[in-house]
Symmetry: C2
Subunit: 416 residues, 2 copies
């Protein structure tokens, strides 16, 4: 492969290390692909080495052998873990990583493979790849373990890193901010105006679900001396979202199927083993046979938890909703007629649940689309789950009814 | 069962016929449940009998042993086909049917089973059931064969029958209007004002997909001498809707799964046998390996046909869309970026396709919800199919872009 050869030819002093690296890669090659995999490897490396370098693809133009967010960890002895593209420029990046460990200066390596398209036999090289190479220290911030901890607790984790900046911008390359469930959770940018804009942007990055670079422009109106722009790379470590289906009746079956199509981890709860079983829910990741309140108490409700209440009775809805309505679920939806929903809301309001917590519930469940069958309800619910996760403007039934619920609950109406 | 006994006790002169009927039911019992099943049986009966009676449940209140639309066909010898509720009042209906065949007068039989709840052991009796009993004649209108013909051609068929009216309303009980794909297609109401209102109402009845009665009020402002109301029963014979997926790539696979959840008949088309095959589409009802235009020419496009264009290339989209854009499909959706869609529209506009036909196409496909994976696209498309079939206000991507496409296509812009 041409690009590989060219890069390797430019290696002179590092030939020996490179060979050792090649052997190491054969022994311990990891894709570092799961959320937390990279940070586990990073933490382990920092136990034995005072400093390592990490190379991350932060932007690509044209075809690229690896996607944005792909990473290679380089240890002081030149051993690597992960890859940023194999032959296509990786040797150049590896050399930069060794230098970064020497001078402790983060830097961007721009690998331009556009001249190699014609000669590349497998066609995977070809574009321009921006790779940010930075040092991580044993005694630096504990950001890596902070990320790992948050990932293990099933949180939405975004690590924002300054990867480029115009000359004179009041921030250093490599500054990091850890954002967990939308809140700052470790590290900080030395420039508060940038931090504010990055925090405001984080939810839309998380909704897209793809690690990515964003550019923040500061014009002269903001502050004349800092006009220019800053490139920030958002590295996401998102858990697989979890769909908790409360009630295992006939509507739950196709909802579980839609959840699987949307790649949710599907959990089904019912107190009737004749309903909550693997025959009825072959695609479910977990089936819990227990009373609804107990089962829900055993599930951590985080912003990546999506709860669908489709129990067989009003009273079960109340018990279940009471357990979760004030928790930070990414989504809570409840099936039921307009009036049944109102009765549940009113009861919980009387128990002291704040109005705004109740009005977060998507009830009646589903988008503003008419449905006749369980399969149709499931597709409408699936589209609503998708909207909650990714964003979008398609109206929900609850969007239409919320003003009326707010008005009637505020007035204390007995019925709606 | 109590209600059965009570009804049977009231039978006096018909005991012998009733016994013969009971034997007949054991021999040839049919649920008459599929679209057209009833009309097939009706046509067959009218070949041998000059006149038969048909009893139809047109309304229920409270629990009922059979649903609205359930029917029993009664022949002159008392033999029956189908059932309107077994023991619960059926004997009473059967007796009325024999009378209807004598005096040729349609009538409503109201079966009140509310007093029998406590005594009914199986709990299926209980409500109030309105059953319309009417004669059908061998030499009458050919409505029955008209329905059968339309059903066989995969059309949306609604038969509207006047089943009740206030005294003095200028229309007779039993008048019928056949509505096919939303248009009058046989029979007629003798009162044009009623016919206009029934035709205007038909699309929403078809969207609900359930046979049902609706009441039309005419107040004195309309015409003082005809103030009152008319009850019309809409009997639906709807084909299973058909989803034609044009292109068998990676997005088509989950779209086929969603189509199955929505109970569509799923047809997949591609010119590559390595993509269009039963391994990839285990739930498809039909897989066609042929070039897109030829395959589409072989499929009748009716208002119950839903076409999703997800081919691998712009040129295939153009070929496929050209074949169907002016046909009366219930839905046409096309995947693609905002600009790719514009390019396809512009090309077809230049070939002479009217703007309004192009703007009926749901493109870019899907609701206004962000998507990242094939499964997510499929759920968004499924929700859009559902909206097209059943109705609803959730916005589509094409709803947002239509004004811009209309403007740019009208102006002749090269790009958007």
């Amino acid at each position: 492969m041409h690009c590989w050869k060219r890069s390797r030819r430019s290696l002179r002093v590092h030939v020996q290390l490179w060979r050792r690296r090649a052997r190491f890669r054969e022994e311990v090659h990891s894709a570092l692909s799961g959320p937390g995999d990279f940070y586990t490897a990073l933490n382990q490396s920092l136990e034995t080495a005072p400093r390592v370098a990490v190379a991350t693809i932060v932007r690509t133009r044209g075809s690229s052998p690896r996607e944005v967010g792909a990473r290679m960890l380089v240890r002081p002895d030149g051993a690597t873990d992960g890859t940023v593209g194999g032959g296509c420029g990786e040797a150049e990046v590896w050399r930069a990583a060794l230098e970064v460990m020497q001078d402790d200066q983060p830097r961007m390596v721009v690998v331009d493979l556009t001249n190699e398209i014609a000669m590349s036999t497998d066609g995977v090289c070809g574009g321009i790849i921006d790779i940010f190479v930075e040092p991580w220290h044993k005694n630096g911030t504990n950001l890596a373990s902070g990320v790992l901890d948050a990932v293990q607790r099933h949180r939405l984790v975004a690590t924002a890193t300054v990867v480029s900046r115009s000359r004179g911008m009041p921030i250093a390359l490599g500054e990091k901010l850890l954002i967990v469930d939308g809140q700052p959770h470790g590290g900080a940018f030395s420039w508060s105006a940038l931090q504010a804009r990055v925090l405001a942007d984080a939810p839309s990055v998380v909704a897209q679900g793809q690690s990515q670079s964003r550019t923040y422009k500061f014009d002269e109106l903001d502050k004349p001396e800092v006009a220019g722009q800053v490139g920030v790379f958002f590295d996401l470590a998102l858990p697989r979202p979890r769909l908790v289906i409360v009630g295992a009746g006939h509507v739950a079956v196709p909802i579980a199927e839609v959840g699987r199509l949307l790649d949710f981890e599907v959990v089904v709860i019912d107190d009737r083993p004749s309903f909550a079983n693997a025959e009825r829910f072959p695609g479910a990741d977990r089936i819990i046979v227990d009373d609804f309140a107990t089962a829900l108490d055993g599930i951590e409700i985080t912003p990546s938890t999506y709860v669908v209440l489709v129990t067989r009775a009003h009273t079960h809805d109340v018990h279940a909703l009471r357990r979760i309505v004030r928790k930070p679920a990414g989504y809570i939806g409840m099936i039921g007629s307009r009036r049944r929903v109102y009765a549940v809301f009113k009861l919980l309001q009387q128990e002291g649940v704040p109005l705004e917590d109740l009005l977060r519930v998507h009830a009646p469940i589903g988008l503003d689309i008419k449905t006749e069958t369980p399969g149709e309800i499931a597709v409408s619910v699936g589209a609503e789950l998708l909207k909650a996760r990714r964003g979008g403007g398609a109206a929900s039934m609850s969007d239409l009814l919320r003003p009326q619920y707010r008005y009637s609950l505020s007035k204390g109406d007995a019925d709606i």
